[in-house]
Subunit: 246 residues, 3 copies
């Protein structure tokens, strides 16, 4: 299961039934859970002056696609899934089932909850805090510096079930409240109200998310999205959503 061209440190802790693809490199301070797939050209456990030799921990049943780069000193729960060519720096933690899209770039020192999903080319700036069940769509950027360049760091907060659509910028210190939808190509700052749509540059409050109807002929509400979209979530999560009175 480990390709003959892969370069694996004897000090790395590789679980049972782990597959490692051609030309991949696993450095010493890496711990990989059981039943995980690491594709080709991946490099795990890159060190720098900030990573301090702390282990990179990848949970069980994960799938890291080709050309991905992970630094030491970050920790991921089980069932991490990445696209191709992701970069993840040091001292980030993510919960269960984090899905990180192709070409996405996590800058380090972030806290990410359970079941967070990003699409391609998402940039998560340092010190971002992301709740559970959050969605970030292509080319979303989470920023942190209110007057760049400076030493002031105002990471953003994205709350549970929030959705940020394509090519939106979350400005430094913004707090996106639970269940919000940020429309495509928006710039959002400040603290949003829960379950509201914000859109534009600068983003303005448009309406409650419940105004949006599903374009599948049903005319049911499109939000909260967990009432109709359950693909890829585990049974216990879906059961919890079904029981919710929202």
């Amino acid at each position: 299961m480990i390709h003959s061209t892969a370069i694996i440190s004897a000090k790395a802790k590789i679980g049972e039934n782990v597959s490692i693809g051609a030309f991949s490199i696993i450095h010493e301070n890496v711990v990989i859970g059981d039943n995980t797939i690491i594709e080709s050209y991946c490099e795990l456990g890159v060190s720098n002056h900030l990573s301090e030799g702390i282990n990179l921990i990848i949970g069980s049943e994960s799938h890291i696609r080709s050309r991905s780069t992970f630094y030491e000193g970050s920790k991921f729960g089980d069932k991490l899934v990445t696209g191709h060519s992701v970069t993840v720096r040091e001292k980030t933690t993510a919960g269960k089932n984090f899905q990180l899209g192709t070409l996405s770039d996590v800058q380090g020192h972030c806290e990410i909850g359970d079941y967070v999903r990003t699409h391609s080319n998402v940039h998560i700036g340092q010190h971002s805090k992301i709740g559970n069940f959050v969605w970030l769509f292509p080319y979303v950027v989470l920023t942190n510096d209110p007057h760049p360049p400076s030493n002031v760091m105002q990471g953003v907060i994205i709350s549970d079930y929030a959705v940020i659509a394509t090519m939106s910028v979350v400005l430094p210190g913004a707090v996106i409240s639970e269940g919000c939808l940020i429309g495509a190509h928006s710039s959002v700052s400040g603290r949003t109200e829960p379950d509201m749509i914000y859109s534009g540059n600068p983003a303005k409050k448009i309406a409650t998310t419940s105004k949006l109807k599903l374009k599948d002929g049903s005319r049911k509400p499109a939000y909260p999205w967990r009432k109709h979209f359950k693909r890829g979530y585990p049974e216990n999560v879906v059961a919890m959503w079904v029981k919710e009175d929202i």
Copy 2:
């Protein structure tokens, strides 16, 4: 012509005079036409649960630059040219002379015509339909989900000779008509009229494209662009354009 470090499946069908660079991987369900160049670190024929073991077909006289990833189950006409680090998923078809820029990401299940060109970092969402002679400039994103996340898929349609400038988002279900120009940093939805300029966020109709003059001193119209820009198109296409009475 095939580097000694490349890993080539014995089942792959490699044409005459094909060059394959260092550290590249060619999987089994891959068919590569004659006189094609595959640079270093490319991986062709990646499989997933959607690709179903269908062949990846790369036409003759193609040039795939380094670090590119292609899945099984897609098909490209002759003279495919890519930049570096492109990702192309399953079940996409493209015609002749498709040029895909560095870091571009084709998500699969797309139909792309002849002589389409993208610049760097273009994201082509699932179920996009792109005509012939279309241009997509850097950081353009073609989307598909009208109320993300959902199971509703409204791929966009981009018609012949349309041009979408830098960092524009084509919103779900949009139809960009023949010869349109979408200005930089726009968000466009709905159906545009042919040969018109749309710009802004949200994009509005500005004028007919013929109002734009070439900034080369000639004061000739800048559109239709095929009246003055012919670089890299084959003689028979250029001859067709010269004969057109537009």
Copy 3:
């Protein structure tokens, strides 16, 4: 210091104490200064019909992170630092201490001064001219074609100490004057006045940069940024800034 899997042309000129990582490729027309680190999967000295066999020159004490691609025919001063997966085409020159962020793409034929820094995913179009101490933040795009596609090339000019914030587009032929701040998600054209803030799509003049106060409790001006931000600049530069009466 040179990994056994690296492929190094015997004609490349490698300085003293250079480190080259696993699976990297160094072609023949490459000159690397002393004490430089080239990480894994890098390819240096790619040739094309425009590079004409001219040397790629990398200054001393540089650090090129993994998966980076450099063409022949470009020249970098000492202390070049890149993120991962950068692409740099032919005939670009950069001065001392150029820092190019992860996934950034320099299209070639650019002139870049000393101490320029880009963050991730910056796209520097052909024929851009960038002064000294410039900052480009994530997803900034510098364009050049006023009516794409065409053969007219109007590269942008970015003057000393200018700052362009996240996801802004600098339109063809724009001249960003010294000390300007372009706000996030802006589209800027024409010639800006020095030390002013421009923001929006299209960008408008907002105020002088000195109106922005540091959000660190001090209420000091945030600009010129060199009055408070000195991280990573050498002592002689910082000493020059301290003496300046601005």
